[in-house]
Symmetry: C2
Subunit: 690 residues, 2 copies
C-alpha cells in the first residue's frame, strides 16, 4: 500500500477555476486562472463538542495569526491550534469520476466535493434555465456526520484561511446564504439552518473577538460550523463558487459566458444550493458509469483524475455575441494549444462536440496562416488570457531547432483530423460543406510539405516551414529527445499523416469532391508504401526518424490510427486490408517495443514514449494503450498490462500529485518534469470504448 497524497482540481465547467485540495499537509482552495494550487488553508473536519480537539483533514500548513499586526504584542496572539491534522491512515479517500470523498471516524464523518459534468448542448441553442445549470461557476459539496449512535453533539467545520487577505460574510449581502466571500471573486456558502453558524477570527478554531454579529471581519480565517445533535445523522450542502465579471482577456476581449446567466457570486452560490440535488444526481450518474465500466481501479482513477484537471482548464467565453471555447494548457496556460485540442477531441465529442467546431472555426478565422508551402495553423491562440495577434501563437519562435520552434505540419494535420472527426462523428454536414475550401487547401498544403514537385512526393513531410528560418519544425513531442521532437522524416508524424489522408478521402467523398478523394486515397497508399520501406528488417523496428541513422524506438508510431479506429473506418484498420504490410510491421515494432529496457522503463515498469528518453507523457501513453489494445492486442504482454498500477501510482504520490494531473513524467522516478495541472490526460476517456 502506498500512502496517497495528491491534489485534485474540483472545477465547474468552463470557468477556468478550481477548488484544489488533497495533497497531504498542504493548503489549496479557490484558484482562478492559476498554474497550480492556491495557498489557502482549508479547515474541514469534526470534533466531539466535549472533546475540544478538532480532527481536520490535512488541507493546511501550520497557520499563523495576524493578531500581532494589530496588537503589536507577540505574547498574546497564537496561531490556530487545538486541532489534529488527520494522517492518511486515519481516513479513506475515494476519487470517482465526478466526486472526491473523504471518510473518517469509522466512516461517520464524510466530506465530498462534486464536479458533475454531462452532455452540454450547444450553448447557442440552450435555454436560460439549462444554461444556468450547465454553466454555474460553482462546485457542489457536502459535509456530514452520522451521530446516530453518539451520546453527545458533534461539530463539523468547513472553513477557509486566506492568510494575507480577508473574506467578507455573505450574510451582509444576502438573506439566504451563510458563508464567506473574497470580494466578488470567490466564496463558499451553505443554506441557513438550525445548528449552522458562521465564524471569523485570527484563530477560527477558537475566536477571541466577536463583533455585533459574532465575527471579526478584519481577520483572515473564516468558517461555517455545523452541529449534529446526538442521535442524528446530518448532511449539509456546500456551494463553492467563482465569479469574474467584465472583460477578462486581452488581444481579443471576451467575458465569461456565465456572466450572461448569473449576475454575481451570490447569485451563483444561491443557485448552486438551490439545485444541489440535481448536481448530486448528475455526479452520481457519472460515478456509476465509470464504476461499472469494467476498467480496473487504476484505470478508473486515471480517468477520474484526468477529467478533474480537464474541467479545471476549461473556459467558456463570450466574444462579439458568440461563444468562444478555450481549454487552457495547464501550468503553461496557453490558449487552445492545438496539439491538445486534438487529444481532447474524443472527450469533447462525447460531451460537448460544439466546442471542437468552435475552436476549429477560430483557428481558421484568426489563427491560420500561409507560409511558402501553403495553409497551416498556429500552435496556440495565446497565453494567460492574452490572445496573440492574428496568425501567430504565443509559443512558436524562429530560427531554432527543438523546443519553441514552429509546429506547422503538426497543426495542419490537427486541423484536418479534428475537422473530419468532428463532422463524421456528429454528422454536421452543413459545417463540413462550409469548410470544404479549407479542407482542399489543407490537402494541397500537405502535398507541398511532402514536396512542392509532385513527382518527388512519397507522402512524408520533408520540407520545413519558412517560418522556421534556418531552424526546423518540431512536433507536439517537443521536449522528448530528437526521436519525437523533429517533424521532418518523423515516424510518428508520418503515420499521423496517413490518418490525415484516410480521413480526407472520406470527407471529400461526402463533399462530392471525387478527384480529391481519389488523390487522398492514392496518397495514403503511397505513404503506407513509403513507410514500409523504412522498416528495419534486421531489427524488426521502425526508426523514429528517417534520418541520421536514428535508432530510437517509439510508441507513438501507432498514434495516428486512433482516428480511423474511432470513426470505425474498417477498411483502414483491417489488418489484412489495404495497409496490411504496414500493420504487420507495426505489430512487430510495438510487440518488441513493449519490453523492459525499450519502451517499458526497466526500473518502474512504466510505459515510455521513446526508448531513448525517460520523459514520458501520460496522455500519450493512454492513447497508445487504446490503439494497441484495439489494433495490436497481441503486443499487450503481462509487463505492459501491469503498468496501469505504475501510471496510477505516479499520480497518487506527491511526485505528480503536488500539481494534480501531470502529463510529463520521468519514467524512472515517477516525478513530473513538465505539463503540470494538465488537461490532456482525458485521452484516457477512450478506454471506456474498449
Amino acid at each position: 500500500m502506498i500512502e496517497e497524497s495528491f491534489y485534485t482540481q474540483h472545477s465547474p465547467f468552463g470557468a477556468f477555476a478550481s477548488f484544489t485540495v488533497g495533497l497531504v499537509d498542504s493548503p489549496g482552495g479557490f484558484g482562478h486562472a492559476l498554474r497550480g494550487a492556491a495557498r489557502q488553508n482549508i479547515y474541514v473536519g469534526f470534533r466531539a463538542v466535549a472533546n475540544e480537539e478538532w480532527q481536520l483533514l490535512p488541507f493546511l500548513s501550520p497557520p499563523t495569526s495576524q493578531e500581532t499586526a494589530f496588537t503589536g504584542d507577540t505574547t498574546t496572539a497564537q496561531p490556530p491550534r487545538g486541532f489534529r491534522a488527520l494522517r492518511p491512515t486515519d481516513y479513506d479517500r475515494k476519487l470517482h469520476w465526478a466526486s472526491d470523498t473523504w471518510r473518517a471516524d469509522d466512516a461517520r464523518f464524510g466530506f465530498s466535493l462534486l464536479s458533475p459534468f454531462g452532455e452540454v448542448p450547444d450553448v447557442e441553442k440552450l435555454s436560460r434555465k439549462a444554461a444556468r445549470f450547465h454553466f454555474a461557476p460553482q462546485v457542489s459539496g457536502w459535509i456530514e456526520y452520522d451521530n446516530r449512535k453518539g451520546a453527545q453533539p458533534v461539530e463539523l467545520i468547513f472553513g477557509v484561511g486566506n492568510g494575507n487577505d480577508t473574506l467578507r460574510p455573505l450574510t451582509d449581502t444576502s438573506d439566504s446564504l451563510l458563508g464567506f466571500a473574497s470580494g466578488g471573486a470567490f466564496g463558499y456558502a451553505t443554506l441557513p439552518a438550525r445548528g449552522v453558524t458562521m465564524r471569523q477570527g485570527f484563530d477560527v478554531l477558537a475566536p477571541k473577538y466577536a463583533d455585533y454579529r459574532g465575527l471579526l471581519v478584519i481577520a483572515g480565517e473564516s468558517a461555517l460550523v455545523f452541529t449534529v445533535p446526538a442521535g442524528q445523522r446530518k448532511r449539509f450542502p456546500l456551494s463553492l463558487g467563482f465569479y469574474s465579471a467584465g472583460v477578462i482577456t486581452t488581444g481579443l476581449p471576451t467575458t465569461y459566458a456565465y456572466t450572461r446567466y448569473f449576475k454575481s457570486l451570490e447569485d451563483v452560490l444561491s443557485y448552486g444550493l438551490a439545485d444541489h440535488g440535481q448536481y448530486v444526481k448528475l455526479a452520481a450518474e457519472r460515478d456509476k458509469e465509470l464504476a461499472n465500466s469494467g476498467l480496473d481501479v487504476d484505470q478508473q482513477f486515471l480517468i477520474a483524475q484526468s477529467t478533474h484537471s480537464y474541467l479545471g482548464a476549461s473556459q467558456l467565453l463570450w466574444s462579439n455575441g458568440a461563444p468562444l471555447w478555450v481549454v487552457n494548457e495547464g501550468e503553461y496556460r496557453m490558449i487552445n494549444t492545438f496539439d491538445l485540442t486534438v487529444d481532447h477531441l474524443f472527450f469533447e465529442l462525447a460531451w460537448h462536440p460544439w466546442t471542437i467546431r468552435n475552436a476549429l472555426d477560430l483557428f481558421v478565422e484568426r489563427y491560420s496562416y500561409r507560409d511558402q508551402l501553403g495553409l497551416s495553423f498556429t500552435h496556440d491562440m495565446g497565453v494567460n488570457n492574452f490572445f496573440t495577434p492574428v496568425g501567430h501563437s504565443s509559443y512558436e519562435c524562429d530560427e531554432i531547432d527543438g523546443c519553441f520552434s514552429h509546429m506547422t505540419m503538426e497543426q495542419l494535420l490537427n486541423w484536418v483530423l479534428c475537422a473530419v472527426t468532428y463532422a463524421e462523428h456528429t454528422g454536421d454536414r452543413k459545417w463540413l460543406v462550409a469548410r470544404k475550401k479549407i479542407l482542399l487547401a489543407c490537402a494541397e498544403s500537405l502535398h507541398r510539405r511532402d514536396d512542392p514537385k509532385p513527382g518527388l512526393r512519397d507522402g512524408i513531410l520533408k520540407h520545413d516551414s519558412s517560418r522556421c528560418g534556418k531552424g526546423s519544425e518540431i512536433t507536439t513531442y517537443d521536449s522528448l529527445d530528437v526521436s519525437l521532437g523533429q517533424a521532418r522524416n518523423n515516424l510518428y508524424l508520418a503515420v499521423k499523416t496517413l490518418a490525415g489522408w484516410v480521413l480526407l478521402e472520406k470527407a471529400f467523398l461526402k463533399l462530392g469532391a471525387k478527384a480529391a478523394a481519389q488523390d487522398a486515397h492514392a496518397t495514403a497508399d503511397l505513404l503506407a508504401k513509403t513507410l514500409s520501406t523504412k522498416f528495419e528488417a534486421n531489427t524488426g523496428f521502425f526508426p523514429a526518424v528517417f534520418e541520421k541513422d536514428n535508432r530510437s524506438r517509439i510508441l507513438p508510431a501507432v498514434e495516428g490510427f486512433v482516428y480511423p479506429l474511432f470513426l470505425g473506418y474498417t477498411d483502414a484498420i483491417d489488418r489484412s486490408g489495404r495497409f496490411s504490410v504496414l500493420f504487420g510491421q507495426l505489430q512487430q515494432h510495438i510487440t518488441q517495443a513493449l519490453q523492459p529496457g525499450i519502451c517499458l522503463d526497466s526500473g518502474s515498469g512504466g510505459w515510455k514514449m521513446s526508448s531513448t528518453s525517460t520523459n514520458t507523457w501520460f496522455s500519450k501513453i493512454a492513447l497508445a494503450q487504446h490503439v494497441i489494445r484495439r489494433l495490436f492486442p497481441e503486443a499487450m504482454n503481462e509487463a505492459a498490462r501491469s503498468a496501469d498500477r505504475v501510471h496510477a501510482n505516479w499520480q497518487r504520490l506527491p511526485g505528480c500529485g503536488v500539481d494534480a494531473m501531470c502529463d510529463q513524467i520521468r519514467s524512472d522516478s515517477g516525478i513530473t518534469c513538465g505539463s503540470r495541472y494538465y488537461p490532456r490526460g482525458v485521452t484516457s476517456f477512450l478506454w471506456l470504448s474498449e
Copy 2:
C-alpha cells in the same frame, strides 16, 4: 553613515496602487490594494555594450528560469545572470517629496520615479481634461545615461520579471506604446523611439528564443532596452500604470473614479507619456517646496516617505453618481479609519479639502449610530474593499477591554474636530449650516458621555458606550499600554475633548447658536479646571489615566491643542489666557517627559508616546513635535531635538523600510511592530507650517 535600505511606495492619486521598490536585494513592483510590496523582480540598470555585464539596481531576488517547465530539461535552462546587483555604496539615492532618484556610475546613470501631487479641485467641479491629469492612475518615471564622454554605446534597461505570471506586449494592442502589461491591470511603457527595443524571455538579460516580433510571450520576464550612443546624453520617459475596471467593492458597490476618464490601461499609459512633462514639472515644484522649507534633511525625508505611503493608500471611488473618498489603513486596509482621517486632516486641507467633507458626510449617512448616550460614529467603514453594514465598523468588537473594542468617544470627537476644522479652514459655511443638527447632537452626546446628569459633569469622559457591553471603550492608541488605550478618564482624550468644545464654541457662534456656544465655552472652562486638579504637584506630571494610581507619562497630553493651533484660535492657545493654569502644568509635564528614560528612549533617543511602553508611533510623534515646538518650545531640549535623525533612520533601515512608511515602532530597536505600509505619517506635513 548607515546603509540605507527601504521601500518607498510610488503611487498615483486615488488608485490604491503602488509601484514599490527600494529595499536592497528585494523584489517589488506593481501592487494594487496590497498590504505590502509586490514580489516582482524589477530590472533597472545599465551596461557598456562592449562589457556584457549589466549593472542593476538591487530591486530583485535571484530570479529563476521557467524554461525547464517547458523543456523538461534542467541542464539547459538557467536563471537570468550576467548582471551585478549594485551595492548601496555603488549608488546614490535621493528621496524627495515627489521624486525618488537613483544615480550611479559617477552620476552618469540615473533612474527616477515621480509621484507628483498638487491641489486637486473638487472632483465634481473638474473639467474632463483636469480630471485626466489629476486622476491618471500612473506613476511617471525616467531612465537616463550621460554618455557624452563615452566612446562606446551604453544600454539601459527597465524591466519586470513577473515569475509565475506572464506579461503581454503592448505593441499588440497599441501603435504608440512600447512596453508590457499584465492583462488590463498594470503595465509599463515608453514612447517608440530610435534605440528603444522590447524584450521578453526566460532570461531577459540574454533571451534565447525570439518569435516573429523578437519576443517570447510565454516567458515571465520582460523589459525595455534603450541604447545611448557614444557622445550623447539621453533620458527616456516611463509610465507605470494601473487599471481596475468595474465594481471593485462589496457592501457598497463602487468603481474607481478614474474609470470615468480613462477607458483602459493603454489609455492611461498613453496619457502618462503624453503629459509626462507636466508631471515632471509638478513633481519638481513639490520637491523644491520641501527642499526650501528650512526643515532639516531628516525631517524632509520623513515628510517625503510619509507622503509617498499616504498616496499609496488613497482611493477615489464613484458610487451612485458621486465621488466616494477613501484612505485605506495601510497593512490593515480598513476603509477610512476615522482616527486616521483626523490625522490626515491637515494634509488633505492643503491639497484636497473636499475629501474631508466627503468622508464626514459618509460617516453621517452610513457610519453613525446612537447608543444609550447619543450620537457617535464607527471606527471605520469596512476592510479590504468591503464596506461593512450601516452603523458598523470592521474593527469594533463587543465585551472586551483593549484592542478591538469600541472607540465611541474617540470617533465622536474626531467628527467634531474634522468638521469644524474643515468648515473653518475652507470657509464652507453652506456645509456647516447643513450639518448644524449633527454638531448639536455631537455636543449633547459629549455631555452625556461625561455624565447623563448635568449636575455630575466635570467635562471628562466617564461613561462607556453600551456597545461595549461589559467591556470598555478604547482610544486610537489601542495597542499601546493601558496609559493610552483606555478611553475613560484618559488624559489624552480629555485634552482632545477640550479642543472639541473650543471648536464647537466657534462653530456654534458662526451658526448663530448662542446658547450652545456659551455652553461649549463653559464646558471647556469646566474641563480645563477639572484637568488641572489631576495634575500631580509632587511629581510635576499628569497621570495618563485618572484611575487606579496610573503613573504613566504620555506625550499626547498636548495632542488636542493642534486643532485650535491650526485654526489660529489665539484665545485658546494663549499661554497667559483662559487656559493659563492648564498650560503651565502641561509645560511642566512635557518638559519633564522629554527626558531620556521617560518619553525619550534611553537607548535610541527616539520619542516614546508613553513612558511605560516601547511601542511608539511616528505619526503621533510628528503631531506632538509640532504642538510642542509651537506651544511649548522651552521643552525642546537638545536630546529631544536630535531625535529627528533617530526617527528618520528607523525608516531608512530595513526594520521599518521593509514595509515602506511604518507607524508603530519599537523605540528600543527601531523595528516596526504594526501599522506598516501606512498613510498616517502625513501628520508631519504640519512641520511645514512651523
